[in-house]
Amino acid sequence: MARFTKTMKSLAATALGLALAGAALAGPAEDELVIETDDGPVRIVTKTAAPAFLADTFDTIYSGWLFRDDTTRDMERDDFDNPAMVFVDRGMDAWNAAMGANGESCAGCHQGPESMAGLRAVLPRVDAESGKLMILEDYINACVTGRMGLEKWGTTSDDMKDMLSLISLQSRGMPVNVAIDGPAAHFWEQGKEIYYTRYGQLEMSCANCHEDNYGNMIRADHLSQGQVNGFPTYRLKDAGMVSAQQRFVGCVRDTRAETFKAGSDEFRALELYVASRGNGLTVEGVSVRH
């Protein structure tokens, strides 16, 4: 906030009417994220060199964490203060519960949740067997229906988001490393096209806000690069967990457009593309945003 105030002053002093070159105005915070956890400190990469395919666009990619205010950033520094941990605990209860049609549990097949370490960092990915593009929600539902004989969980249901929280946390601190070539390539291209399409009556694309204008204020909102390495995130405004799929719905709705559905082919491809723009940042597991 202090940085922003300074910017506003220098802005007023600038010759008015000058075309203001966006990103230089109010950048990401100068800050480092080391999270205190039960297993000791975990360093999070919130700022790193942009992946090669973005070379003409960005030098540096930033986690959304660097665009939030001091109080919100602080809540993510210690698991004890992170409201998302409640949902991780709920996910842990579900993990151990004998909830399957024949009493199966996640733990029965996978042992502890730490067996999921690394998964979140490479998703979405193309499933080798089916050739389908899979987000974490798809893997979870494959077990819920195929191996436990239950009705599929809603993409944005509480059950689903609790489990996303638990499994994502297992990859905390690992670099996002989503494959964009081979069988992923055509899904990636589809996601890229969506990213640059100007939807809705406001005719705005993801890139208009998160590429052209990150660092700027859209009214009181400090625009980030729209990275998904922090997801699922505890959103203070909603007092609950928000998945990347849900965030996409919200952002497209804000352009006065007909959104795609959470979990649709389009938004799964978009998640692959957006995740790949964050290759090199680390998974935050469960982050805090406002």
């Binding site: 910017t7 802005l11 007023a12 008015l16 009417g17 000058l18 075309a19 203001l20 966006g22 105005l25 109010a26 399409t197 100007r198 939807y199 809705g200 009556q201 406001l202 005719e203 705005m204 208009n208 052209d212 204008n213 700027n216 204020m217 859209i218 009214r219 009181a220 719905v249 497209v252 709705r253 804000d254 352009t255 006065r256 457009a257 007909e258 959104t259």
Partner: protein, 157 residues
């Protein structure tokens, strides 16, 4: 049948009365981005223009623009050029064109078109996220545009 027709025409009259010589969004003619004729023939009200520009559900211009003449607006955006001096830089006709459809003045601009009703990709029904049917209602009506223009012309350095 008769009474049904009557009801329909009565509704149309109610909606259309204040806008007898209003130019519909599709009929606006742009000359190099500028729109010479008033959209309504009724002089704009600058005070209402300010309201339109600073209300989220209306123009919400301050989401992107700062306006020195309106120091009470909290958290104006920093995306677009400040509007101070716009009345010096642009004629009334040019300002009307920019507000109606800024894309006619600035190719590919981020600024939304406030008086445009079709030609959108996946047009929505307002902010519901549901599908809308084109032609949509324009974001601002003709008189609101005139009111905004009436305020913009006063922004002289």
């Amino acid at each position: 049948m008769n009474s049904h027709l009557w009801r329909v025409s009565a509704m149309v009259t109610v909606i259309a009365t204040p806008a007898i010589c209003e130019t519909a969004p599709k009929d606006v003619s742009f000359a190099e981005g500028a729109v010479e004729a008033s959209l309504t023939g009724v002089p704009g009200d600058p005070a209402n223009g300010v309201k339109v520009m600073t209300t989220n559900a209306l123009g919400n211009c301050v989401a992107c623009h700062q306006i020195g003449a309106l120091p009470d607006v909290e958290f104006p955006g920093t995306i677009a050029p400040p509007l101070d001096g716009a009345g010096d830089r642009w004629s009334e006709a040019e300002l009307r064109g920019i507000v109606a459809n800024a894309k006619m003045t600035f190719e590919g601009t981020f600024m939304p078109a406030f008086y445009k009703v079709d030609g959108f990709v996946r047009p929505g029904d307002g902010f519901t996220g549901k599908a809308g049917t084109e032609p949509l209602a324009p974001i601002l009506n003709a008189q609101q545009i005139e009111d905004v223009v009436a305020f913009l012309v006063t922004l002289k350095e």
